[in-house]
Amino acid sequence: MNERIKKLRDQSQNAIPRISAERALLVTEFYKSDRAQQVSVPVRRALAFKYILEHKKICINEGELIVGERGPEPKAVPTYPDINLHSLQDLEILDTRPKVWFRVDEETKKAYEEIIIPFWTGKSNREKIFENLDQSWKDAYEAGVFTEFQEQRAPGHTVLGKKMFGKGFLDLKEDIAREIGQLDFFNDPKAYNKREELKAMDIAADAIILFAERYAEELEKRAQEEPDADRKIELIQMAKICRKVPAHAPETFHEALQHYWFIHVGVITEVNPWDSFNPGRLDQHLMPFYEKENQAGTLDEKQAKELLSSFWIKFNNHPAPPKIGVTAKESSTYTDFSLINLGGVKEDGSDAVNEMTFILLDVIEEMRLLQPSSMIQVSKKNPDRFIKRTAKIIKTGFGQPSVFNTDAIIQELLNQGKDLTDARNGGASGCVETGAFGTESYILTGYFNLTKIFEITLHNGVDPMTGKQVGLNTGNVKEFTAFEQVLEAFQKQVKHFADIKIKGNNIIDRIFAENLPVPFLSLLIDDCILKGKDYNNGGARYNTSYIQGVGLGSLTDILTSIKYNVFDERKINWNELFSAMEQNFDGYDELRNQLLNNTPKYGNDDDYADKQAVDIFEIFYAAVDGRPNTKGGHFRINMLPTTSHVYFGSVTGATPDGRLARRPLSEGISPFQGADRKGPSAVIKSAAKIDHLRTGGTLLNQKFTPSILEDEKGLDSLVQLVRAYFRMDGHHIQFNVVTADTLRKAQKHPEDYKDLIVRVAGYSDYFNDLGEDLQDEIIRRTENEVF
């Protein structure tokens, strides 16, 4: 790392997260204008976007090579009152909460009190959504049966494809003009809607070009004032680049990075989309630029790394926009889930690992930043040395990169009906979600608390935490004479709650489609221009809605415990079990020991237990998969928790697997913390028993002590373990390499462990920024290990 990068990295690391009212004020000013009242909804959104980019502060940080900030300065995070309106109390909480805080100054509070809150109250999208959802949805939501991603952030969940590395926005404007010219107002009843949408996209293209030109102007000004001759040349060069991209297609490595970065800032300024945005297959996109310049002698590896490092820091300058309410608990992190993909296969199916892949791995290792997150795609065609190089980074214990199975991802996409080329251009984003990059909207709709639903099943539709009837009457389990009846009752409850969830999402989808189109994002994803249709309204080639199942490991152990202890072995009867759970096992040490230590558990390659995992998977799959959404696509499942397993655990009482009330559930498809006692190979065998290829992603967390990866043999074995899992169609695996002892020390003395990054679930985070309950959960997860 050279001096410049070190400085920029420090600046980014030390920047204070704060709330900026800049965007909120600009969007309010625009919405108050006469112009805003006269135009169609898509055009209004595009003009608002343009208004922001025309007026927002231009920020150029000292020494940086890639420019563009979403806020007025690094880590100054804008708000989106058009989507979710923070109250003064929310701002107070953000300012003062002990973790993942955002400073809010008096001026910002004043702006909220006097201008933003008065204007947006009753108008924000979140309020519209809650007005339109019915009581059964609200009851289930409040009971913690599911969460809803879109209630305060816009559907994003998409990744840039290769298109934009070969096109500028002027090219897109030509495409738009052609489509407008071809509209058939005589025969196409949607022609007007299409024209308004295309007009909006055209305005959004102008807006981003204008934004870059404002940067160019400022850079030119700075160049004139710059006393340092070298920096002066740099600034002139950067200004030239901003005059060229994103209006025109990039031709150099530097241009390509700057081009993408303007696009990124555009997407996360227009709205607050989930998973921010993501350049996707970065090694594939950048290799042609690098190769050309490297051969011409205009760019060497060192220079490329410096530019990439500067690029990395830009991601780190952009924390996730802060949420309010339930979502703050369920996913509280500065991370905004931009996941760089490396490796995999090319469009023709051949090995895609190239020189740029290894350069990027070096950058990831050296930068050691929270954002962007990184992953490798591993196909059977990729060389072992690619995995082994990655294993050496994993070994350093910052939880990145995570490891994905390209061949499984392609198969998953094909199973969903996608074209082979689109599938090969795909990957995973966010935590582990499968998508076709550049052609798909694959929104996550919310976490689905399978364990809670089973708790409700055990109580015949009543939530024992509140005494409220939220589910169906599926019978008194104490009267059931066979284990199959338990499963049957559960299946009915899952269907019931999936219905409620899907109905809710079909309503929310429409609210976004009608009120919050995203013309800028629509420019980027095919086939929005071609169809004259917004990204939020089914404009993408593929439109998938995912529901995320949570608690597979916990629920498998719960069902196994009932099957084993109550039915098959008759060691415990229902009354004893219910009393023990009601008492949170207080006074039931022997019984709890039976449940915890003498009952088969998921994660040990034990078919007796793993059978229940498969049953749960099939029940969830049948309730969700293939049901239509409102955008011409379908609902699908994936299995990932982010941090919701902590929230979901907190609303769930003691369970028949011996878990105490309100404790976290298992995460992803990983075994419950400490339930796996036969090492990583047995975990992998258990996890591979569900059919990953029928999901849109599963998450498996594997812990290792640093000592097991110490020598070459340890690294080679890790490579082979990954290969074995992927041979069994496993989708994803991530490794936490840190000792429980280190974590305990960090919890006690956070000041000494400011840089400690751990793998949470599908992403990494600073250990210090995690809530204490999640910290405890990770410590427990780590200390039970033998490996």
Binding site: R592, L596, G679, S681, K685, D711, K713, A724, F787
Partner: protein, 264 residues
């Protein structure tokens, strides 16, 4: 026929090539002072008290050390890890205890493994009759062979048996052309004297094939087990060897042309 097994370890990466499953068999004719699996010595299963900790609460429970398996049961468990064996060039390792003590059972399991093309390793003290060793060698791809001391009297003192049969068997396996990795547990003050090392080297140099040499530096990890199982612990005050010394010993063997690994 049943075998008595006290542990099965999956993802064992230091007990032979690749990712392995290590089956720990009960019973050992030796009684090495530094043994880190003292619960393996007695051939029959026995009960022991242990403390289960559940969120700060403690519960005394009885645990049985050692469990009977039929050949079929064990083979089923071994086969579960086939995918890892194939990906890594691994297989199954029989350790103990002294696995050859349960000779008939082991022989049948080894035979069944070879029928399934599973790579087999026997981790042995070498203290078994020559006839048995020769038969086991038929179905064993690799021997991990412990060399504890070259001096017969000291060997007898620290392990309870002399080393003559052990050295003869090593010679025998070499004559049979078997692949061998010699395992040398380096115990400070017991078998780390230069004279012993040189004698060991001299012996190895007489073999036709050059075995790999694994140096296993003494660690105290097993000491708590002596306490738990109520056994006499004779290693009080013995410290783990300095890394520099371990490296020196490793160099001695590498300079003599041996492939050396430390710790596995």
């Amino acid at each position: 026929m049943k075998g008595i097994i006290f542990d099965i370890k999956h993802y064992a990466i230091h007990d032979g090539p690749g990712i392995r499953q290590t089956v720990f068999m009960k019973g050992c004719p030796l009684g090495c002072w530094w043994c880190h699996n003292p619960e393996s010595r007695a051939r029959e299963p026995f009960s022991s008290q242990k403390t289960e900790k559940m969120d700060g609460r403690e519960l005394q429970v009885t645990e049985t050390i050692g469990k009977e398996y039929s050949v079929e049961e064990l083979i089923q468990i071994i086969e579960k890890d086939q995918v890892f064996f194939e990906e890594s060039g691994g297989g199954v390792t029989f350790s103990g205890g002294e696995p050859l003590l349960q000779f008939d059972f082991l022989l049948e399991v080894l035979h069944e493994c070879k029928k399934r093309d599973i790579h087999t390793v026997v981790d042995t003290t070498g203290y078994v009759s020559q006839a048995k060793m020769e038969r086991a060698a038929q179905y064993t791809d690799l021997f991990l062979y412990d060399l504890k001391h070259m001096d017969d009297a000291l060997h007898r003192k620290y392990t309870g048996v002399g080393n003559e049969l052990i050295l003869d068997n090593l010679q025998l396996l070499d004559d049979l052309g078997k692949e061998i990795w010699v395992r040398y547990a380096l115990i400070p003050g017991f078998n780390d004297q230069e004279e012993n090392l040189l004698n060991m080297l001299a012996f190895l140099q007489k073999l036709k094939r050059q075995p790999k040499v694994s140096i296993l530096p003494y660690h105290k990890i097993g000491s708590h087990k002596y306490h738990r199982f109520g056994l006499e612990y004779k290693m009080n005050g013995v410290e783990e060897p300095a890394k520099e010394y371990v490296d020196e010993v490793a160099d001695l063997f590498s300079e003599a042309g041996y492939e050396v690994s430390v710790g596995g």
